[in-house]
Amino acid sequence: MATYGGWAGKVLRVNLSSGKISTEDTIEKYKDFLGGTGIGYKVMWDEVPTGTKPFDPENKLIFAIGPLAGTGAPCNGRTAITSLWPTCWPRPLVGSGHMGGDFAAQLKYAGYDAIIVEGKADRPVWLAVTNENVEIKDARNLWGQGIRRASLDISREMGPEASVAAIGQAGEYMVPMSVVINSFSHSAGGIGGVMGSKHLKAIGVLGTGSIRIGGDKGEWEKVIKLHLSLFGANNQHVVPNSPQPWAEHYNPRSRWVASAGRQWGAALPAIDTGTCDPHDLNKIAYRTNNAAYFLGDKAWKYTIRGNGCTACPIRCHTRLKVPSVAEKYGISETGQSTCVRLMFGGKFFKTFPDGPKGETAIEACMVGMHFADDLGLWDNYGQLQRDFQTLYAKGIIREKVPEKEFKSYSWDKYEQGDPSFLFELLPRMATKQGELGTALGLGTGHLLERWEIPEQEWQQNHALLYWKQGHPKHHSSEDAGQCGVIINTQYNRDAQCHSHTNFTRNGLPLEVQKQLATKIWGSADAVDTAGAFAPMNQYKAKMAKWSLLRKELHDSISLCNWMGPWIASPLKERGYSGEDSIESLLYSTVTGDKKSREELDQIAERIFVLHRALTIRDMETKDMRTKHDTIPDWVFEDAKGKAPFSKGTIRMDKEDIRLAMDMFYEEMGWDKATGSPTRETYRKLGLDDIAAELAKRGLLP
């Protein structure tokens, strides 16, 4: 068998019921699915039968990475974790969570492309993986501890370089809204409870091996330098958010927030982020400060530095030092996170005494991070906090929660925007105490069912941003019109796809985007200005397909889809064009297995369609179009009654979206009536066996 660079070559399988630990050959068994979610879906298809529930011992947890993980390919730090999704409602289906940090790299250096966890231990355990030494260890002393304490205790045993992915109390209590966390702040949502159901407190990984670069090392250096030269800031925003001496364009919405005068104020001494000329590759890490982007300019003075995954030059996590929280709330003055998780605490509140981006808001966020990352709570991409605010404002909490329990909360503090309210709420949520804590921990779908609220009520409320199956929208019509809508119909949790939004929101003027779009999707008509959408056309369907395939490609070879793709760049001399073949260049050089862009896209399609097949099989219906790919009512409404396609609205038109779905299914080679892949499509992708199995069950169109 050919030997490849990039992959470690082995998949570790751990059965917690029997204690059996074994390995299998990655290339032999999984190369057609690359790694990451590709391995995850394959294992779920082959090994987890329809009807299995997330917390059943028969459910499996697949921590998987791809050939780029652990190398110097930028943005390779995310581990894909695939399982039956506990917050997917009304029936659990396959989903994946993705945690960054150092876990992926350590796993690769330890010699593994994936860990498949199966069964259920009869007592709390943790898994210690030090190179070829793998051991299931007693975790009774760790059970009941927060993530921070558990990680420290395990590090003491394994050594300070180990990466520990642990659950907190929320995972132990099998709270569906729980996470697993490694490297201080890098979480994967939804997974905590599944680990808890298996009595698995943590996985510690320590690797001292290496990854061979399969191609020429000089070529590898060139490819990496090319890739880095195309980088923007977080979300591949390629223009700065304020005028810079080198920049032709700027866009206030850009996450490229560095500028002279904006400083990492809590560094000792302060560091000015400067103008960050895109040609200066030694300044990439200063471009992004997501604390300043999400919490407001006040966060600059609290910024110690950027942080993030191993090998990523974009530091999307921001490390903050806010001394007042130690004094006021008795928590650590330092905290760190990114995006929605940075705002975990703040978003529960409607108001703060000093405004939405004042000091109290930042304190609330610090308190939120303190609890969320120690108890291991998930926010479901902010849906938790939106639900909470709405349920409170509508009086539903008062109605559904027993009076004695209701009165045990300091609602006056909540209404005043006092962050100490979170000390009452979050620990109870993590340990299923009382009706409120228990209900919030279920996730939106199950919460609505428990409290007898029709899902449609949530789907009609634009402010809630709820989409379907218990989960919210994730970059939908507001960023990419019909393309965003299509993408948000496809998964069994929030879509987590950034391929489309990272292009439409990259900050470049529309005319430049249209030039680039022509090269990639065949027509300038693929893109519009957000809020001035044109009716559907086939190029938007091509863009949607491309976006989804790149997401699965990234999740399988280990590139961050939150940062890529890299089809635009900040480089004026390139006409702001990026490189649509960068994934192919990276993959081919690291593995030595030459694959063109088209060939990789085809593998990505195989992986994406396998996800579709899993969804069809486990929903036991081929009618995806009406039963799965649903769109909430708010997408078709506008608060001011503006008509679809008029300026200033993201309102979509129902007929037009019907056409959009038709065009998308056609582009995918799926049956238009049902939205299910045809036998011919499965065959073309090398998935004959999948088609045969679905045919047996009457699930082919």
Partner: protein, 243 residues
């Protein structure tokens, strides 16, 4: 320049350096060193093999680091090993950051007072100091396999001479020598011919390649060296240092 005059120059330079930070006068040194032979070994021109290696010419440059700028991405370690060795191999990287990433140089035993991602956030980069005389790793090597790179005078492992005894690892107070289990040889920072890959790879400008200066007294050692120096070398040391 003849070998002899080159040797003389190196000795003079080294004595300048050593006497500037010791109580011994230059004259004392010249007096006590009278008559000994000093080998200056480079990759290309090996001096008399029988002569123990004692004094090495100083390096032209070294890599220095700013901990407050480090963002903990470890791209330096990856550039070091991928671009030089064709493998991603943090455990053999010649710049060492990973070991301090989580808990800092004092590890997790200092609790919440520690550095790193789990402490105060400060990431400390460990770098080769390209030590001046006495170069601990070179002095400890029983095969004189740690020699000068001709382009920068970096102290480098001559992999043909290295037998993998790992004595150099025991000699470095900063634990900057790596052992490559693939090649069964030691490896250390060789300054990439004056264009260090780690410096080029740092996305936050936390590393700089600068003119050499002695930083050995500024960085606390990580371990107590336990290398054994051969009697021949010890004798050569005594030629200068014995009063």
């Amino acid at each position: 320049m003849t070998n002899e005059s080159r040797t003389r120059e190196v000795v003079e330079k080294t004595l300048d350096f050593v006497s500037s930070r010791s109580s011994l006068s230059r004259r004392d040194f010249l007096f006590v060193t009278g008559g000994i032979l000093v080998a200056v070994s480079t990759l290309k021109a090996h001096a008399d093999k029988e002569t123990p290696l004692i004094i090495m010419d100083q390096a032209a440059g070294l890599v220095i680091a700013d901990s407050t700028r480090c963002v903990g991405c470890l791209r330096c370690e990856l550039a070091c090993t991928e671009f030089n060795d064709g493998k991603a191999s943090p455990s053999t990287a010649r710049i060492k950051v990973r070991r301090n990433l989580n808990y800092g140089p004092q590890s997790m035993y200092s609790g919440q007072r520690s550095a790193g991602n789990w402490g105060n956030g400060l990431i400390v980069q460990d770098l080769c100091k390209q030590c001046a005389h006495p170069v601990p790793c070179a002095t400890a090597c029983p095969n004189d396999a740690i020699v000068l790179d001709p382009s920068t005078n970096a102290r480098v492992v001559d992999s043909e001479k290295c037998v993998g005894c790992r004595m150099c690892q025991r000699a470095c107070p900063w634990e900057m020598i790596s052992f490559d289990s693939d090649t069964q040889k030691a490896t250390k920072c060789f300054l990439c011919n004056g264009h260090p890959k780690c410096v080029e790879a740092c996305p936050s400008g936390a590393l700089s390649y600068v003119a050499w200066r002695d930083v050995t007294a500024e960085v606390p050692p990580r371990v107590i060296p336990t290398a054994i120096i051969s009697p021949e070398k010890t004798q050569s040391c005594m030629d200068c240092h014995q009063r």
